[in-house]
Protein backbone atom coordinates (compact mmCIF):
# COMPACT_ATOMS: atom_id res chain seq x y z
CA UNK A 1 0.00 0.00 0.00
CA UNK A 2 1.04 3.61 -0.49
CA UNK A 3 -0.31 7.14 -0.15
CA UNK A 4 -2.94 8.15 -2.70
CA UNK A 5 -1.19 10.76 -4.93
CA UNK A 6 -4.25 13.01 -4.53
CA UNK A 7 -3.03 13.62 -0.96
CA UNK A 8 0.09 15.67 -0.31
CA UNK A 9 2.24 15.63 2.80
CA UNK A 10 3.38 19.09 3.77
CA UNK A 11 5.28 20.55 6.68
CA UNK A 12 4.32 23.98 8.03
CA UNK A 13 4.51 25.82 11.32
CA UNK A 14 6.57 22.86 12.58
CA UNK A 15 3.76 20.37 12.00
CA UNK A 16 3.10 17.73 9.37
CA UNK A 17 -0.21 18.04 7.60
CA UNK A 18 -1.84 15.81 5.00
CA UNK A 19 -3.58 17.90 2.38
CA UNK A 20 -6.18 16.52 -0.02
CA UNK A 21 -6.01 18.11 -3.45
CA UNK A 22 -9.08 18.97 -5.54
CA UNK A 23 -9.29 15.39 -6.90
CA UNK A 24 -9.26 13.71 -3.50
CA UNK A 25 -12.43 12.08 -2.14
CA UNK A 26 -11.96 13.92 1.16
CA UNK A 27 -12.08 17.67 1.70
CA UNK A 28 -10.64 18.31 5.11
CA UNK A 29 -7.29 18.33 6.82
CA UNK A 30 -5.22 15.77 8.68
CA UNK A 31 -2.80 17.09 11.25
CA UNK A 32 -0.42 14.69 12.86
CA UNK A 33 2.25 14.22 15.47
CA UNK A 34 5.74 12.80 14.98
CA UNK A 35 4.57 9.20 14.59
CA UNK A 36 2.01 10.16 11.92
CA UNK A 37 4.84 11.99 10.14
CA UNK A 38 6.92 8.79 10.05
CA UNK A 39 3.97 6.69 8.86
CA UNK A 40 3.28 9.17 6.02
CA UNK A 41 6.98 9.13 5.15
CA UNK A 42 6.85 5.32 4.86
CA UNK A 43 3.74 5.52 2.69
CA UNK A 44 5.59 7.62 0.08
CA UNK A 45 6.63 4.21 -1.29
CA UNK A 46 4.82 0.90 -1.57
CA UNK A 47 5.07 -0.71 1.89
CA UNK A 48 3.35 -3.31 4.04
CA UNK A 49 1.90 -2.51 7.43
CA UNK A 50 4.59 -4.69 9.06
CA UNK A 51 7.34 -2.68 7.34
CA UNK A 52 5.84 0.51 8.76
CA UNK A 53 5.79 -1.05 12.25
CA UNK A 54 9.45 -2.12 11.81
CA UNK A 55 10.42 1.46 10.92
CA UNK A 56 8.44 2.86 13.86
CA UNK A 57 10.18 0.44 16.25
CA UNK A 58 13.53 1.58 14.81
CA UNK A 59 12.73 5.25 15.42
CA UNK A 60 10.74 5.15 18.65
CA UNK A 61 11.03 3.31 21.93
CA UNK A 62 8.01 1.31 22.96
CA UNK A 63 6.25 -2.00 23.08
CA UNK A 64 5.90 -3.49 19.58
CA UNK A 65 2.35 -4.59 20.25
CA UNK A 66 1.33 -1.02 21.18
CA UNK A 67 3.10 0.40 18.13
CA UNK A 68 1.28 -2.12 15.94
CA UNK A 69 -2.03 -0.95 17.41
CA UNK A 70 -1.19 2.74 16.80
CA UNK A 71 -0.09 2.06 13.22
CA UNK A 72 -3.24 0.03 12.54
CA UNK A 73 -5.35 2.87 13.92
CA UNK A 74 -3.66 5.51 11.73
CA UNK A 75 -3.86 3.30 8.60
CA UNK A 76 -7.55 2.66 9.27
CA UNK A 77 -8.20 6.44 9.53
CA UNK A 78 -6.25 7.17 6.35
CA UNK A 79 -8.11 4.34 4.60
CA UNK A 80 -11.46 5.75 5.66
CA UNK A 81 -10.76 9.06 3.87
CA UNK A 82 -9.40 7.43 0.73
CA UNK A 83 -5.78 8.36 1.39
CA UNK A 84 -4.42 4.82 0.96
CA UNK A 85 -3.85 3.22 -2.43
CA UNK A 86 -3.65 -0.58 -2.46
Amino acid sequence: MKLNPDFIVHKMDGETVLIPTANAPFHGLIQGNESVEVILECLSEDVTQDEIVDEMCRRFRGDRALIEEDVADVIARLDSIGAIQR
Binding site: I8, H10, M12, I19, T21, A22, H27, G28, L29
Partner: protein
Protein backbone atom coordinates in the same frame (compact mmCIF):
# COMPACT_ATOMS: atom_id res chain seq x y z
CA UNK B 1 -21.35 51.70 15.94
CA UNK B 2 -24.07 50.00 18.00
CA UNK B 3 -23.27 48.37 21.34
CA UNK B 4 -23.36 44.80 19.99
CA UNK B 5 -20.90 45.63 17.19
CA UNK B 6 -18.68 47.63 19.53
CA UNK B 7 -18.41 44.67 21.93
CA UNK B 8 -17.64 42.30 19.08
CA UNK B 9 -14.95 44.68 17.80
CA UNK B 10 -13.25 44.96 21.17
CA UNK B 11 -13.47 41.21 21.75
CA UNK B 12 -11.99 40.48 18.33
CA UNK B 13 -9.19 43.01 18.82
CA UNK B 14 -8.48 41.40 22.20
CA UNK B 15 -8.30 37.89 20.71
CA UNK B 16 -6.07 39.05 17.86
CA UNK B 17 -3.79 40.84 20.29
CA UNK B 18 -3.49 37.62 22.33
CA UNK B 19 -2.86 35.56 19.18
CA UNK B 20 0.01 37.68 17.84
CA UNK B 21 1.53 38.40 21.25
CA UNK B 22 1.54 34.71 22.24
CA UNK B 23 -0.85 35.07 25.19
CA UNK B 24 -3.77 32.99 26.35
CA UNK B 25 -6.93 35.11 26.51
CA UNK B 26 -8.74 35.33 29.81
CA UNK B 27 -11.06 32.31 30.04
CA UNK B 28 -13.85 34.16 31.84
CA UNK B 29 -13.83 36.91 29.23
CA UNK B 30 -13.95 34.36 26.37
CA UNK B 31 -16.92 32.62 27.98
CA UNK B 32 -18.84 35.91 28.14
CA UNK B 33 -18.19 36.81 24.49
CA UNK B 34 -20.97 36.70 21.93
CA UNK B 35 -18.92 34.32 19.79
CA UNK B 36 -21.36 34.29 16.89
CA UNK B 37 -20.94 38.08 16.58
CA UNK B 38 -17.17 37.76 16.93
CA UNK B 39 -17.20 35.02 14.29
CA UNK B 40 -19.21 37.12 11.79
CA UNK B 41 -16.92 40.09 12.29
CA UNK B 42 -13.77 37.96 12.01
CA UNK B 43 -15.06 36.41 8.77
CA UNK B 44 -15.69 39.90 7.35
CA UNK B 45 -12.01 40.65 7.97
CA UNK B 46 -10.49 37.23 7.14
CA UNK B 47 -9.25 36.96 10.71
CA UNK B 48 -11.15 33.92 12.01
CA UNK B 49 -8.13 31.63 11.96
CA UNK B 50 -6.06 34.11 14.01
CA UNK B 51 -8.91 34.47 16.53
CA UNK B 52 -9.20 30.66 16.69
CA UNK B 53 -5.52 30.26 17.54
CA UNK B 54 -6.09 32.52 20.56
CA UNK B 55 -9.45 31.11 21.65
CA UNK B 56 -8.31 27.48 21.67
CA UNK B 57 -5.75 28.32 24.37
CA UNK B 58 -8.50 29.11 26.84
CA UNK B 59 -11.78 27.44 25.85
CA UNK B 60 -13.00 24.56 23.73
CA UNK B 61 -12.99 25.90 20.21
CA UNK B 62 -16.47 26.30 18.71
CA UNK B 63 -16.88 24.27 15.54
CA UNK B 64 -17.02 27.23 13.12
CA UNK B 65 -13.73 28.64 14.45
CA UNK B 66 -12.10 25.20 14.27
CA UNK B 67 -13.26 24.74 10.69
CA UNK B 68 -11.99 28.19 9.71
CA UNK B 69 -8.58 27.45 11.25
CA UNK B 70 -8.32 24.09 9.44
CA UNK B 71 -9.41 25.71 6.19
CA UNK B 72 -6.70 28.36 6.60
CA UNK B 73 -4.04 25.71 7.25
CA UNK B 74 -5.15 23.69 4.25
CA UNK B 75 -5.24 26.72 1.96
CA UNK B 76 -1.83 27.91 3.12
CA UNK B 77 -0.33 24.48 2.49
CA UNK B 78 -1.85 24.30 -1.00
CA UNK B 79 -0.50 27.77 -1.78
CA UNK B 80 2.98 26.76 -0.60
CA UNK B 81 2.90 23.57 -2.68
CA UNK B 82 1.67 25.31 -5.86
CA UNK B 83 3.97 28.29 -5.38
CA UNK B 84 7.03 26.04 -5.09
CA UNK B 85 6.17 24.46 -8.45
CA UNK B 86 5.48 27.83 -10.10
CA UNK B 87 8.69 29.45 -8.88
CA UNK B 88 10.70 26.38 -9.92
CA UNK B 89 9.24 26.81 -13.41
CA UNK B 90 10.14 30.52 -13.41
CA UNK B 91 13.71 29.60 -12.41
CA UNK B 92 13.90 27.02 -15.21
CA UNK B 93 12.62 29.54 -17.77
CA UNK B 94 14.76 32.48 -16.62
CA UNK B 95 11.84 34.65 -15.47
CA UNK B 96 12.67 36.93 -12.55
CA UNK B 97 10.09 37.10 -9.78
CA UNK B 98 9.34 38.80 -6.49
CA UNK B 99 6.90 37.18 -4.04
CA UNK B 100 4.73 39.87 -2.44
CA UNK B 101 2.50 40.77 0.48
CA UNK B 102 0.79 37.89 2.27
CA UNK B 103 3.34 35.32 1.07
CA UNK B 104 6.00 37.08 3.17
CA UNK B 105 3.79 38.60 5.86
CA UNK B 106 2.54 35.15 6.91
CA UNK B 107 6.09 34.31 8.01
CA UNK B 108 6.09 37.22 10.47
CA UNK B 109 3.07 35.84 12.34
CA UNK B 110 3.64 33.40 15.24
CA UNK B 111 1.81 30.78 13.14
CA UNK B 112 1.67 31.34 9.38
CA UNK B 113 -1.90 30.01 9.25
CA UNK B 114 -3.07 32.96 11.37
CA UNK B 115 -2.63 35.06 8.23
CA UNK B 116 -5.46 34.03 5.93
CA UNK B 117 -5.20 34.89 2.26
CA UNK B 118 -7.44 34.51 -0.76
CA UNK B 119 -4.63 34.71 -3.29
CA UNK B 120 -0.84 34.81 -3.72
CA UNK B 121 0.77 37.82 -5.38
CA UNK B 122 3.98 37.59 -7.38
CA UNK B 123 5.65 40.37 -9.40
CA UNK B 124 7.34 39.11 -12.56
CA UNK B 125 9.36 40.33 -15.50
CA UNK B 126 6.74 42.36 -17.41
CA UNK B 127 8.29 41.34 -20.72
CA UNK B 128 7.57 37.66 -20.07
CA UNK B 129 3.83 37.68 -19.30
CA UNK B 130 2.95 35.39 -22.19
CA UNK B 131 5.62 32.91 -21.06
CA UNK B 132 4.14 33.11 -17.55
CA UNK B 133 0.69 32.43 -18.97
CA UNK B 134 1.98 29.38 -20.86
CA UNK B 135 3.61 28.06 -17.67
CA UNK B 136 0.54 28.62 -15.50
CA UNK B 137 -1.82 27.05 -18.03
CA UNK B 138 0.48 24.04 -18.41
CA UNK B 139 0.14 23.56 -14.64
CA UNK B 140 -3.63 23.38 -14.88
CA UNK B 141 -4.42 27.01 -14.01
CA UNK B 142 -7.16 28.89 -15.84
CA UNK B 143 -6.31 32.41 -16.92
CA UNK B 144 -9.18 34.59 -15.66
CA UNK B 145 -7.71 37.98 -16.54
CA UNK B 146 -4.85 38.91 -18.87
CA UNK B 147 -3.31 42.17 -20.02
CA UNK B 148 -6.00 44.56 -18.76
CA UNK B 149 -4.60 45.82 -15.49
CA UNK B 150 -1.29 45.70 -13.65
CA UNK B 151 -1.79 42.02 -12.88
CA UNK B 152 -3.05 38.84 -14.51
CA UNK B 153 -5.19 36.37 -12.56
CA UNK B 154 -4.91 32.57 -12.60
CA UNK B 155 -7.07 30.12 -10.68
CA UNK B 156 -7.27 26.40 -10.01
CA UNK B 157 -9.53 24.25 -7.83
CA UNK B 158 -9.94 24.27 -4.90
CA UNK B 159 -10.03 28.12 -4.75
CA UNK B 160 -6.31 28.63 -5.42
CA UNK B 161 -5.69 31.98 -7.08
CA UNK B 162 -2.45 33.61 -8.14
CA UNK B 163 -2.11 37.26 -9.17
CA UNK B 164 0.93 37.71 -11.36
CA UNK B 165 1.84 41.38 -11.45
CA UNK B 166 3.53 43.19 -14.36
CA UNK B 167 3.81 46.32 -12.23
CA UNK B 168 3.26 46.99 -8.58
CA UNK B 169 0.63 49.68 -9.15
CA UNK B 170 -1.86 50.61 -11.81
CA UNK B 171 -2.06 53.99 -13.56
CA UNK B 172 -4.66 55.24 -11.04
CA UNK B 173 -1.78 55.67 -8.54
CA UNK B 174 0.66 57.74 -10.67
CA UNK B 175 2.88 58.76 -7.74
CA UNK B 176 3.46 55.14 -6.82
CA UNK B 177 3.89 54.09 -10.46
CA UNK B 178 6.66 56.70 -10.82
CA UNK B 179 8.34 55.63 -7.59
CA UNK B 180 8.43 52.00 -8.63
CA UNK B 181 9.55 52.53 -12.23
CA UNK B 182 12.48 50.17 -12.74
CA UNK B 183 11.52 48.36 -9.54
CA UNK B 184 14.25 45.77 -10.01
CA UNK B 185 16.84 48.42 -9.12
CA UNK B 186 15.25 48.51 -5.64
CA UNK B 187 15.42 44.75 -5.15
CA UNK B 188 17.99 42.38 -3.75
CA UNK B 189 18.72 38.94 -5.06
CA UNK B 190 17.20 36.16 -2.99
CA UNK B 191 20.32 34.16 -2.16
CA UNK B 192 18.56 30.82 -2.52
CA UNK B 193 17.73 31.21 -6.21
CA UNK B 194 18.98 32.51 -9.57
CA UNK B 195 15.95 34.59 -10.54
CA UNK B 196 14.23 35.22 -7.21
CA UNK B 197 14.28 38.69 -5.69
CA UNK B 198 13.22 40.28 -2.44
CA UNK B 199 12.81 43.74 -0.97
CA UNK B 200 14.97 44.92 1.88
CA UNK B 201 12.92 44.99 5.09
CA UNK B 202 12.69 48.79 4.76
CA UNK B 203 11.47 48.64 1.18
CA UNK B 204 9.05 45.83 2.02
CA UNK B 205 7.57 48.00 4.74
CA UNK B 206 7.32 50.97 2.37
CA UNK B 207 5.61 48.85 -0.27
CA UNK B 208 3.24 47.43 2.34
CA UNK B 209 2.23 50.98 3.30
CA UNK B 210 1.77 52.00 -0.34
CA UNK B 211 -0.42 49.01 -0.98
CA UNK B 212 -2.44 49.63 2.17
CA UNK B 213 -2.84 53.31 1.28
CA UNK B 214 -4.03 52.44 -2.21
CA UNK B 215 -6.89 50.39 -0.75
CA UNK B 216 -7.53 52.88 2.05
CA UNK B 217 -8.27 55.74 -0.37
CA UNK B 218 -10.41 53.59 -2.66
CA UNK B 219 -12.76 50.91 -1.32
CA UNK B 220 -11.21 50.90 2.16
CA UNK B 221 -9.13 48.32 3.95
CA UNK B 222 -9.93 46.20 6.98
CA UNK B 223 -8.50 45.04 10.28
CA UNK B 224 -6.25 42.45 8.66
CA UNK B 225 -4.05 45.15 7.12
CA UNK B 226 -3.88 46.89 10.50
CA UNK B 227 -2.82 43.60 12.10
CA UNK B 228 -0.20 43.06 9.36
CA UNK B 229 1.25 46.47 10.19
CA UNK B 230 1.38 45.70 13.90
CA UNK B 231 2.96 42.25 13.42
CA UNK B 232 5.58 43.53 10.99
CA UNK B 233 6.56 46.46 13.20
CA UNK B 234 6.70 44.25 16.27
CA UNK B 235 9.21 41.91 14.65
CA UNK B 236 11.17 44.34 12.42
CA UNK B 237 10.92 47.97 13.50
CA UNK B 238 13.86 47.92 15.90
CA UNK B 239 16.16 46.86 13.05
CA UNK B 240 14.84 49.19 10.32
CA UNK B 241 16.69 52.22 8.99
CA UNK B 242 13.90 54.55 10.10
CA UNK B 243 15.51 57.64 8.62
CA UNK B 244 15.47 56.04 5.18
CA UNK B 245 11.89 54.83 5.67
CA UNK B 246 10.72 58.31 6.74
CA UNK B 247 12.45 59.92 3.78
CA UNK B 248 10.87 57.53 1.28
CA UNK B 249 7.42 57.82 2.83
CA UNK B 250 7.75 61.61 2.56
CA UNK B 251 8.68 61.28 -1.13
CA UNK B 252 5.56 59.17 -1.59
CA UNK B 253 3.39 61.60 0.35
CA UNK B 254 2.24 59.03 2.92
CA UNK B 255 4.40 59.86 5.92
CA UNK B 256 1.43 61.20 7.92
CA UNK B 257 -0.72 58.27 6.90
CA UNK B 258 1.91 55.77 8.10
CA UNK B 259 2.25 57.48 11.45
CA UNK B 260 -1.51 57.54 11.95
CA UNK B 261 -2.17 53.88 11.06
CA UNK B 262 0.89 52.64 12.95
CA UNK B 263 -0.34 54.39 16.09
CA UNK B 264 -3.80 52.97 15.59
CA UNK B 265 -2.38 49.45 15.14
CA UNK B 266 -0.27 49.79 18.30
CA UNK B 267 -3.30 50.91 20.29
CA UNK B 268 -5.52 48.17 18.87
CA UNK B 269 -3.14 45.23 19.34
CA UNK B 270 -0.44 46.37 21.74
CA UNK B 271 0.18 44.35 24.85
CA UNK B 272 -0.85 47.27 27.01
CA UNK B 273 -4.41 46.44 26.09
CA UNK B 274 -6.82 47.42 23.38
CA UNK B 275 -6.96 51.06 24.28
CA UNK B 276 -8.86 52.28 21.30
CA UNK B 277 -11.26 54.96 22.36
CA UNK B 278 -14.04 56.23 20.04
CA UNK B 279 -11.99 56.31 16.86
CA UNK B 280 -13.41 57.30 13.48
CA UNK B 281 -10.38 55.86 11.83
CA UNK B 282 -10.88 52.49 13.52
CA UNK B 283 -14.52 52.55 12.45
CA UNK B 284 -13.41 53.03 8.86
CA UNK B 285 -11.24 49.91 9.13
CA UNK B 286 -13.97 47.95 10.92
CA UNK B 287 -16.67 48.70 8.37
CA UNK B 288 -14.42 48.28 5.32
CA UNK B 289 -13.81 44.56 5.71
CA UNK B 290 -10.89 42.77 4.09
CA UNK B 291 -11.80 43.86 0.55
CA UNK B 292 -13.35 47.26 1.17
CA UNK B 293 -16.93 48.27 0.41
CA UNK B 294 -18.79 49.53 -2.60
CA UNK B 295 -19.95 52.51 -0.57
CA UNK B 296 -16.38 53.52 0.25
CA UNK B 297 -15.27 52.93 -3.32
CA UNK B 298 -18.11 55.06 -4.74
CA UNK B 299 -17.57 57.92 -2.30
CA UNK B 300 -13.77 57.94 -2.61
CA UNK B 301 -13.93 57.66 -6.39
CA UNK B 302 -16.31 60.60 -6.76
CA UNK B 303 -14.43 62.66 -4.20
CA UNK B 304 -11.22 62.14 -6.17
CA UNK B 305 -12.85 62.81 -9.55
CA UNK B 306 -14.49 66.02 -8.31
CA UNK B 307 -11.30 67.14 -6.55
CA UNK B 308 -13.19 67.42 -3.28
CA UNK B 309 -15.58 69.95 -4.84
CA UNK B 310 -19.28 68.99 -4.71
CA UNK B 311 -20.53 72.10 -6.51
CA UNK B 312 -22.87 71.88 -9.50
CA UNK B 313 -20.22 73.09 -11.96
CA UNK B 314 -17.73 70.49 -10.74
CA UNK B 315 -20.32 67.76 -11.20
CA UNK B 316 -21.17 69.00 -14.71
CA UNK B 317 -17.49 68.93 -15.71
CA UNK B 318 -17.19 65.39 -14.36
CA UNK B 319 -20.28 64.32 -16.32
CA UNK B 320 -18.75 65.67 -19.53
CA UNK B 321 -15.54 63.72 -18.84
CA UNK B 322 -17.63 60.58 -18.33
CA UNK B 323 -19.45 61.08 -21.61
CA UNK B 324 -16.40 62.15 -23.62
CA UNK B 325 -14.19 59.35 -22.26
CA UNK B 326 -10.47 59.73 -22.98
CA UNK B 327 -6.94 58.84 -21.86
CA UNK B 328 -6.40 55.85 -19.63
CA UNK B 329 -10.12 55.18 -19.18
CA UNK B 330 -10.51 54.94 -22.95
CA UNK B 331 -7.44 52.70 -23.23
CA UNK B 332 -8.72 50.27 -20.57
CA UNK B 333 -12.43 50.20 -21.43
CA UNK B 334 -12.39 50.62 -25.22
CA UNK B 335 -8.92 49.63 -26.44
CA UNK B 336 -10.17 49.36 -30.04
CA UNK B 337 -11.29 53.02 -30.12
CA UNK B 338 -8.11 54.01 -28.25
CA UNK B 339 -6.06 52.49 -31.07
CA UNK B 340 -8.37 53.84 -33.85
CA UNK B 341 -9.07 57.40 -32.72
CA UNK B 342 -10.60 58.39 -36.09
CA UNK B 343 -13.57 56.17 -35.15
CA UNK B 344 -14.09 57.94 -31.80
CA UNK B 345 -17.31 59.73 -32.91
CA UNK B 346 -18.89 56.27 -33.35
CA UNK B 347 -18.11 55.52 -29.71
CA UNK B 348 -20.10 58.58 -28.66
CA UNK B 349 -23.16 57.04 -30.33
CA UNK B 350 -22.44 53.43 -29.37
CA UNK B 351 -21.88 53.99 -25.61
CA UNK B 352 -25.24 55.58 -24.68
CA UNK B 353 -27.17 53.02 -26.72
CA UNK B 354 -25.22 50.13 -25.20
CA UNK B 355 -25.66 51.55 -21.71
CA UNK B 356 -29.41 52.04 -22.16
CA UNK B 357 -29.77 48.42 -23.29
CA UNK B 358 -27.33 46.55 -21.03
CA UNK B 359 -27.28 48.46 -17.74
CA UNK B 360 -29.87 51.24 -17.51
CA UNK B 361 -30.21 50.75 -13.73
CA UNK B 362 -26.44 51.11 -13.26
CA UNK B 363 -26.43 54.40 -15.17
CA UNK B 364 -29.43 55.66 -13.19
CA UNK B 365 -27.68 54.70 -9.92
CA UNK B 366 -24.51 56.51 -10.94
CA UNK B 367 -26.46 59.66 -11.85
CA UNK B 368 -28.29 59.49 -8.52
CA UNK B 369 -24.97 59.12 -6.64
CA UNK B 370 -23.47 62.07 -8.47
CA UNK B 371 -26.53 64.24 -7.84
CA UNK B 372 -26.60 63.43 -4.13
CA UNK B 373 -22.82 63.52 -3.57
CA UNK B 374 -21.68 65.71 -0.69
CA UNK B 375 -18.10 65.99 0.57
CA UNK B 376 -17.87 64.68 4.16
CA UNK B 377 -16.65 67.18 6.71
Amino acid sequence: MNEKTKNAVYDLLYLLSCAVNGEAPDKARCEKMDLSEVYSLSQYHMLTSAAAFALEKSIELPREFDQAKKKAIRKLALFEIERAKILAAFEKNGIWYLPLKGILLAKTYPKAAMREMCDNDILCDSGKMQDVRDIMESMGFTCDLFGQFNHDVYSKPPSIEFEIHHNLFDSDMPRFVDYYTDVISRLKKDGNSSFGYRFSDEDFYIFMLCHMYKHYINAGTGLRSLLDLYVFNRSHRAKLDLEYVAQELKTLGIEEYERSVRNLADKAFGQEGSDVSESEELEYFVFSGYCGTEGNANYNYLNKQLGGDDSGSSKRKYLLRRIFISGDDLRKSYPFFYRHKALYPLLLIYRPIKGAVTHPKGIAAECKRLKGFKVKE
